[in-house]
């Protein structure tokens, strides 16, 4: 399959700081790929190099079959992490201007703007000055700016950062629409739950290096969590019997319930039935793959809750908490 983006042995330094080191990756056309990693991992630098806003010290970048994004700018939609608008400009004029810069005629752009604004819940804001909109509304405007010219490739750097849940939902719908139209999407995020939900393929970056490059399906197989999430019907129920089960490796308390890790090779569905028979459950389900766990397991090199893994996990969660606060 032809690649939408291909990076080969790319390295970028800022003074003594190595932002991206020996990074190679390929984004197949028509896929939704995620670049994930904690804040400061090198995701934005990587994306800026793909966009030819920054240039690598060494290595090569090709985008949509061209030697540089500069040659394919009009086929790329880009939502940068550092988002901004012309504050005094009206929303409609701003979006039309961006579309014109991307090679769309003024008439076509002006015709598309109202419909797209309506799709992101901003109907009738064409004549509103940008500085009269809230932060969440502006981010939706910027998303429209990135997709107005119906690009083949959509690059979204932290698209959900600072958004309220309604805006997140609207943006996810728009991403699905763009993907259904055939666009390739490269999504960078430090909130791994979004990548779990949206991506076909993930690249994990840690300290400028790629630590994982796999399709989600393969990940699910390889990093099967072997966990069950269990909440007993009676809050003070005794779980000693569960701990004693031969299929169970360990039982850890989590919130109102427990996370049960099974031994390797155990059949989760059988274990589920046995546990339910031993202690009446209020809720019991097979634990889903969490990219956060995969990341911690890969980077910390084991999977146990040692200090390095705990530190990493807290770094990842800190980002998510900040998001929630924002």
């Amino acid at each position: 399959m032809m690649q939408a983006i291909e990076l080969r042995d790319v390295r970028k330094t800022f003074g003594a700081n190595v932002a991206v080191d020996n990074l190679s990756l390929a984004v197949p056309r028509g896929t939704v790929c995620g670049v994930i990693g904690p804040s400061g991992a090198g995701k934005t630098t990587c994306i800026r190099m793909i966009m030819s806003i920054l240039f690598p010290d060494s290595g090569s970048v090709s985008v949509l079959g061209r030697a540089s994004a500069l040659e394919a700018k009009d086929q790329i939609g880009y939502l940068p992490e550092e988002r901004g608008v012309y504050r005094k400009m009206r929303v409609g004029a701003f979006l039309t201007y961006l579309a014109q810069l991307k090679g769309v005629s003024r008439e076509v752009a002006a015709a598309r703007v109202p419909a797209l604004l309506e799709q992101v819940g901003l109907r009738g804001t064409e004549r509103t000055a940008c500085d009269e909109l809230s932060k969440g509304m502006l981010q939706r405007v910027q998303f429209v700016g990135a997709t107005l010219h119906e690009p083949e490739l959509l690059i979204l750097d932290e698209p959900f950062s600072g958004l309220d849940p309604v805006s997140v939902r609207l943006l996810r719908e728009q991403m699905r629409t763009a993907h259904a139209r055939g666009a390739t999407i490269l999504l960078s995020t430090h909130i791994m739950a979004y990548a779990e939900e949206l991506c076909d393929h993930v690249f994990m970056i840690h300290e400028g290096r790629k630590v994982l490059d796999q399709p989600m399906e393969g990940l699910k197989r390889q990093f099967d969590p072997r966990t069950l999430v269990f909440e007993p019907l009676h809050p003070r129920a005794d779980v000693a019997a569960i701990r004693a089960m031969p299929d169970v490796e360990r039982v850890e308390e989590q919130g109102a319930g427990y996370v049960i890790t099974l031994v390797a090779g155990a059949d989760p569905s059988l274990a589920l039935a046995r546990i339910a028979a031993l202690v009446p459950p209020a809720r019991i389900e097979i634990g889903r793959l969490r990219l956060e766990d995969v990341f911690v397991r890969i980077v910390a090199g084991g999977g146990g809750l040692d200090e390095a893994a705990a530190a990493l996990r807290s770094r990842l969660q800190a980002g998510a908490v900040e998001e929630a606060r924002a």
């Binding site: 700018k73 901004g84 608008v85 810069l101 910027q142």
Partner: protein, 457 residues
């Protein structure tokens, strides 16, 4: 790879954003408005500022002939006549003899000239007690009239002893006397003493006045079209032209820097860079602001031409000067706009830009400081040398060209060539700084950093 269409789009947005800005419109109109207010109000203000003066002038006149002549020479009619003569001379200097009639058709001279002072001459017998008379100047006003001055005429002021020159007079005034009162008294005294001396020799003062008066004839510059020359006009032309040049450049370059800083601080820059290259962005911004500056220049030149034609002075202006003004404007603009654009791209906010802009502004101010000497002697070694040293060469050359002895044409074209080379070099370096600076946030750079960026990019 640069797309002219994208450059034009950026330029168009830049132009529209600038000219539809309320601040710009106010700024654009404020200069003509200020001039209009000055022209309309100044005569009134000046008249109002010289409040009517009245008081006594004491005179000790041992000759007995100056006091009667002075009584009429400091009377309101005589003062008004003297003021009108001074006004006529001033108008002749500024507009030339041809312009006098046109200017006189404008505001009434009486409104400029104000109300003459009301002097009452008090004769004191000679010889007088000088110390007592002087005390009279500082004593509180007696009977509501204050004493403004004490004149003591020399005994030999009218008839000198044989073999010696004429005597003069002493003028005593209280502290903080208005300089205009002193001038009126001296002018009146001069007239009175001269007329007394002429009378002593049985000469008619009016005869002498007629004999010595020669009306100033016009200087006519010979050429394809004969033009009347005006000294005052000629003197002001270099300042007006270099002023327009600097003003035009500053409007465009400053706005360019401000808009770049805004794009950077509002973070819209990265969205733009995903659609246009840094070079396209910079070129578009420079061209857009150039159009803004040209619009402003066209407006001001238009107003200037209208004013000149309304005073029948349009013939004094060489139209080629306007053509050269535009050529020099473009060169100077590209040079300074590149520098200001690069500074805008390098800093995070306007406050940081000030430190980098100050030295550039000082360079732009150099021609202002040198304008007077260069305009007076446009062919000195300094003036010629400055015409070839960028970035001030265009400004110096503009002053020289607008002066009364313009430089040879080869110097003009050499200066244009030097200016073009400098503008190209500045644009090239600025493009590099622009590319590196746009996405640099954090510590504000200094000039050394900018030079490093220009080298490494």
């Amino acid at each position: 790879m640069t797309s002219p269409k994208k450059v034009a789009l950026v330029a168009g947005r830049e132009f529209m954003a600038a000219v539809t800005n309320k601040g710009f419109l106010i700024g654009l109109l404020i200069m003509p408005a200020v001039f209009a207010v000055i022209f309309a109000l100044m005569p009134r203000l000046m008249t109002a500022s010289s409040a009517p003066v009245s008081g006594d002038v004491a005179i000790v006149d041992p000759t007995g002939r100056v006091a009667p002549a002075l009584r009429s020479a400091i009377g309101p009619e005589a003062i008004r006549a003297r003021r009108e003569r001074v006004f006529d001379r001033a108008v002749n200097t500024v507009a030339g003899p041809g312009g006098t009639a046109a200017m006189r058709g404008g505001p009434s001279p009486a409104s400029f000239l104000g109300t003459p002072p009301d002097f009452r001459l008090v004769e004191r017998p000679a010889p007088a007690d000088l110390a007592a008379e002087k005390r009279g100047l500082t004593a509180p006003p007696a009977g509501g009239r204050r004493r403004l001055a004490l004149l003591v005429i020399s005994a030999d002021a009218i008839a000198p002893p044989a073999g010696r020159g004429y005597g003069s007079y002493d003028l005593f005034i209280p502290p903080n006397t208005d300089e205009r009162i002193e001038r009126e008294l001296r002018d009146g005294l001069r007239e009175a003493i001269v007329s007394a001396r002429l009378a002593a020799r049985q000469l008619d003062p009016r005869d002498i006045e007629r004999i010595t008066a020669v009306a100033t004839g016009p200087s006519i510059t010979v050429g394809d079209v004969e033009r009347q020359t005006s000294t005052g006009f000629n003197r002001s032309v270099p300042f007006v032209f270099v002023g327009l040049l600097v003003f035009g450049v500053m409007i465009g370059a400053q706005t360019l820097m401000t808009s770049t800083v805004e794009e950077k601080s509002s973070r819209v820059i990265e969205v733009l860079l995903s659609a246009v290259s840094p070079l396209e962005l910079m070129a578009g911004k420079i061209l857009g602001q150039m159009a803004v500056s040209l619009l402003v220049l066209a407006l001001y030149i238009g107003i200037g031409v209208l004013m000149l034609s309304s005073f029948a002075m349009l013939g004094l202006l060489d139209p080629w000067l306007i053509v050269y003004l535009l050529i020099f404007f473009l060169i100077t603009y590209f040079l300074f706009a590149s520098v200001f654009g690069a500074i805008g791209a390098a800093v995070n906010e306007m406050r940081e830009a000030q430190a980098l802009v100050t030295p550039v502004m000082l360079v732009l101010m150099v021609p202002w400081l040198l304008a007077a000497p260069v305009a007076r002697d446009p062919n000195t070694t300094m003036a010629v040398a400055l015409s070839f040293i960028p970035p001030v060469n265009t400004l110096a050359m503009m002053i020289r060209m607008a002066s009364t002895s313009p430089p040879p044409l080869w110097q003009v074209w050499l200066s244009i060539a030097v200016g073009l080379a400098a503008a190209c070099a500045a644009t090239w370096a600025a493009a590099k700084v622009f590319r590196v600076g746009l996405l640099m946030y954090g510590k504000p750079p200094n000039f050394a950093t900018l030079v490093r960026w220009a080298r490494q990019a």
